[in-house]
């Protein structure tokens, strides 16, 4: 049973590595956050599997900490997204108001 649980942990970790590709490739910020969340849940599963395999008592406590803090980055992400979207929409409204192609910064930006 120990061997099976460890194999399962390796399998979950490998799928987590797949989600890592989504974090790295994006393309949008939402995709990156979703990849991060999949890694979080996969991490919890791998932790439980490996911990049960090695009969470690404290594994479930660590997984509890991980689980309770899982939605945290997402809350901060929502704020980031709102800031960017609000600024972008304000920018667009400004362009409409000015009737000009926007207030391009002198140094050209990105």
């Amino acid at each position: 049973m120990t061997a099976f649980l460890l194999v399962a942990a390796v399998a979950v970790l490998l799928t987590v590595a797949g989600a890592l590709v989504r974090v790295v490739r994006g393309p949008t910020t939402s995709d990156r956050m979703m990849g991060a969340q999949l890694i979080g849940t996969g991490g919890i599963a791998a932790l439980l599997l490996a911990g049960t395999a090695s009969r470690l008592n404290s594994t479930s406590d660590v997984a509890l900490v991980l689980a309770i803090l899982a939605p945290f980055a997402m809350v901060a992400f929502r704020r980031y997204a709102a800031a960017t979207q609000a600024a972008a929409s304000r920018e667009r409204r400004l362009e409409i108001d000015a009737g000009a192609p926007g207030a391009a910064p002198p140094q050209g930006g990105a």
Partner: protein, 128 residues
């Protein structure tokens, strides 16, 4: 090995395998689906059922009932986090313009014509 123990082990193998199946399916969906909404669909399957089946599968293996209870609480927390995060991501992905990422701290004009990431057009669904 008694029959009961063998049955419990079989239960574990079955459910953990099913859970891994959901993880693999979720990751595949994450990688293959075309936009944020469909990827969210894949993600929730891995979140809710992947962890859930692994937890259910591990239940016969725990040393004490309290550990089993903690496993169930972990599943409940993951469900809650998944539900809330899905809401947030879905709103971000479908409301408003796609979010542009800033590059290396330079001032990036958020003008609509500026392609900031390779994919301003991918993903974000309807732009009202």
């Amino acid at each position: 090995m008694s029959v009961v123990a063998a049955l419990l082990d079989g239960w574990t193998v079955l459910l953990v395998c099913a859970g891994i199946g959901f993880f693999v399916a979720g990751t595949t969906g994450m990688l293959r689906f075309p936009d944020a909404a469909t990827r969210l669909h894949a993600l929730t399957k891995a979140d809710n059922l992947g962890v859930g089946l692994v937890v259910l599968g591990l239940l016969p293996q725990v040393a004490r009932p309290a550990e089993g209870f903690k496993l169930l609480v972990i599943w409940a927390l993951v469900l809650l986090a998944s539900a809330v995060s899905s809401q947030l991501v879905a709103r971000v992905a479908t409301d408003g313009p796609p979010i542009e990422e800033d590059r290396n701290g330079r001032t990036a004009p958020a003008a609509s014509g500026t392609p900031l990431d390779r994919s301003g057009s991918v993903g974000a669904g309807a732009q009202p």
